[in-house]
């Protein structure tokens, strides 16, 4: 990944390589710089190589809770990176959680939660909300 200071950098983590490809193509077309990882190990490597401005994480990957584990990892090592969790577990397991309640926010530690299947516009809207355009540039300036 080239370090273009004006581009916002997004890290996508998902075990479905088609999902990665689709979101990457669309994010790049929208002017983002995108790196991808298929699991926890790769994600940690990407984070170490080149910290992104925002991370988009799937929940069920190597393990059913990999997304949550990564969430904690990022909060610990790079607390300023906003995190969007993208998951299909809400509809599939009936495991009901959302970021609306204070108690769920306390353990989920993500800034946004999107239910799969997602439309690219949804993801784009959340990224714009969590990462206003100047963030990357100002972060570089500091």
């Amino acid at each position: 990944m080239s370090n273009n200071p004006t581009k916002r950098r997004v890290l996508l983590v998902d075990d479905d390589s088609d999902f990665l490809w689709q979101q990457k193509v669309q994010l790049e077309a929208a002017g983002f710089e995108v790196s991808t990882a298929v699991g926890e190990t790769e994600a940690k490597e990407r984070l170490a190589e080149c910290p992104p401005d925002l991370a988009v994480l799937d929940v069920m990957m190597d393990n059913p809770d990999t997304g949550f584990t990564l969430c904690y990892y990022i909060r610990k090592h790079a607390p300023k990176i906003p995190i969007i969790l993208v998951t299909s577990i809400v509809s599939e397991t009936g495991l009901d959680f959302a970021l609306a309640s204070e108690s769920d926010r306390a353990w989920i530690r993500a800034d946004a939660l999107l239910a799969k299947p997602i439309r690219f516009e949804q993801l784009r809207r959340e990224i714009d909300r969590l990462l206003p355009h100047e963030t990357a540039a100002t972060a570089e300036a500091h």
Binding site: D15, D16, S17, D18, F19, W21, Q22, V25, Q26, A29, V38, G39, T41, E42, M60, M61, D62, S88, E92, T93, K116, P117, R119, F120
Partner: protein, 401 residues
């Protein structure tokens, strides 16, 4: 220890006290479910009082005198028959007539005890009732566990079916919205990947039907003498193009014909799954060895590859349903996650087993053993649960005092 509530309904105080005394400290051991059962006795001096207690909270066992002032035992029985409870009623009858017995049985009585009875007779009667209750409870527990396993299976299945749909839908939307730009290669990629995911979904549905067939136990198995070497030869042919494209050598080693009494389709399924995996998870230019042997009453099918292999802790869960080892080496390899669970289930139909020995990075050897003479018992996966017999079947004729 499980405590059962017993309600004694009799207008004779002596009879009620007798039951209380006999059951004090009495326990029943049910070896089949490893349970020890004790009893807590309540009393009712007439039918009205009994009904009140039963309606509030039904006991597990009801001792019910037939002849009482006020409403009779049969009337109590009649009034409680529609109650949704596990309560077993034992009628106490002084003049045990066939007519009373028939009528009580029709109204749902479980057993009879003829007056006067000895403490041993009482204990035997209650032992029978307690055992029945314990077995029924065990059967309910097993049924519930089975239900939970099915729920879990369906949940994961839903996930596995939705993932390819989401992927294909994603590609189609990108095509529809013209998001792929000017490069033709992006379009080719989107279409190719969609087809790959659809193929994966088709395989999942096919495997799912195999699993259902095997588990239903209703499939007609046709057991005949088959030559495993010949079946393996045909299966190998179907994988030859894939293997050749990746320069993988497949070698079949057998001492000669290996005969087995088996269902041809099942042996094909086992070989198909094992060889398909050995090719899929191999490296380009690798090798697959299929080894067939017949020792005494047992056939061994062994398939080795020179592929990515797996770690010991991964090998332990590999034969479960929907288990796929997910890492960067396997992410582009399609699989339903059901193949090896199918192999294991099939092996168990032959009183055999499926195992794996593997070394990460070097390869794996999958071994399936099959007994040559599948017995009737091992051929049927359906199990009969304890406590399935109807309550009436246990009902004895009333003994005449």
């Amino acid at each position: 220890m499980d405590i059962l509530r017993v309600l004694v309904t009799d207008d004779e105080l002596g009879m009620r006290l007798g039951v209380v005394r006999t059951l004090r400290g009495f326990t029943v051991r049910v070896p089949d479910v490893e349970e020890v059962i004790g009893f807590e006795v309540e009393e009712a001096e007439n039918g009205e009082a009994a009904l009140e207690i039963i309606r509030r909270s039904p006991p597990q066992i009801l001792f019910l005198d037939h002849k009482m002032p006020g409403i009779s035992g049969l009337e109590v029985l009649e009034a409680t028959r529609d109650l949704q409870s596990e309560m077993l009623t034992i009628m106490i009858t002084a003049y045990a007539s066939i007519e009373t017995a028939v009528q009580a049985t029709k109204s749902g009585a479980y057993d009879f005890l003829a007056k006067p009875f000895t403490p041993d007779e009482l204990r035997n009667t209650i032992r029978k009732a307690a055992t029945r209750l314990a077995l029924a409870k065990q059967a309910r527990k097993l049924a519930e566990e089975k239900r939970q396993v099915r729920f879990q299976f369906i949940r994961v299945l839903g996930h596995e079916l939705k993932a390819p749909l989401n992927a294909v839908e994603g590609y189609l939307r990108m095509l529809q919205e013209g998001q792929l730009g000017e490069k033709l290669s992006a379009y080719t990629e989107a279409v190719d990947r969609s087809l790959v995911r659809i193929e994966g979904m088709r395989k999942l549905v096919a495997d799912l039907l195999d699993v259902t067939h095997i588990e239903s136990g209703q499939r007609q198995r046709s057991l005949e003498s088959v030559d495993v070497v010949q079946i393996a030869g045909r299966v190998l042919e179907t994988f030859a193009p894939d293997a050749a494209a990746r320069k993988i050598d497949i070698v079949l080693n057998a001492p000669g014909p290996v005969r087995l009494t088996a269902d041809r389709g099942e042996i094909e399924m086992i070989l198909n799954n094992l060889i398909s995996n050995a090719v899929k998870y191999n490296r380009d230019g690798g090798r697959v060895d299929v080894q067939l042997a017949h020792q005494s009453e047992r056939v061994t099918i062994s398939v080795s590859d020179t592929g990515i292999g797996l770690a010991t802790e991964e090998a332990a869960r590999l034969f479960g349903e929907f288990v796929r080892i997910r890492n960067d080496k396997t992410r582009n390899i399609l699989g339903s996650g059901l193949g090896l669970s199918i192999v294991k289930k099939l092996a168990s139909l032959y009183g055999g087993d499926a195992t794996v020995v593997s070394e990460a990075g070097a390869g794996s050897t999958f071994t399936v053993t099959l007994n040559d003479q599948p017995t009737a018992a091992s051929a049927s996966p359906a199990r009969t649960l304890p406590g399935d017999s109807s309550p009436r079947a246990d009902c004895e004729n009333p003994a005449v005092a």
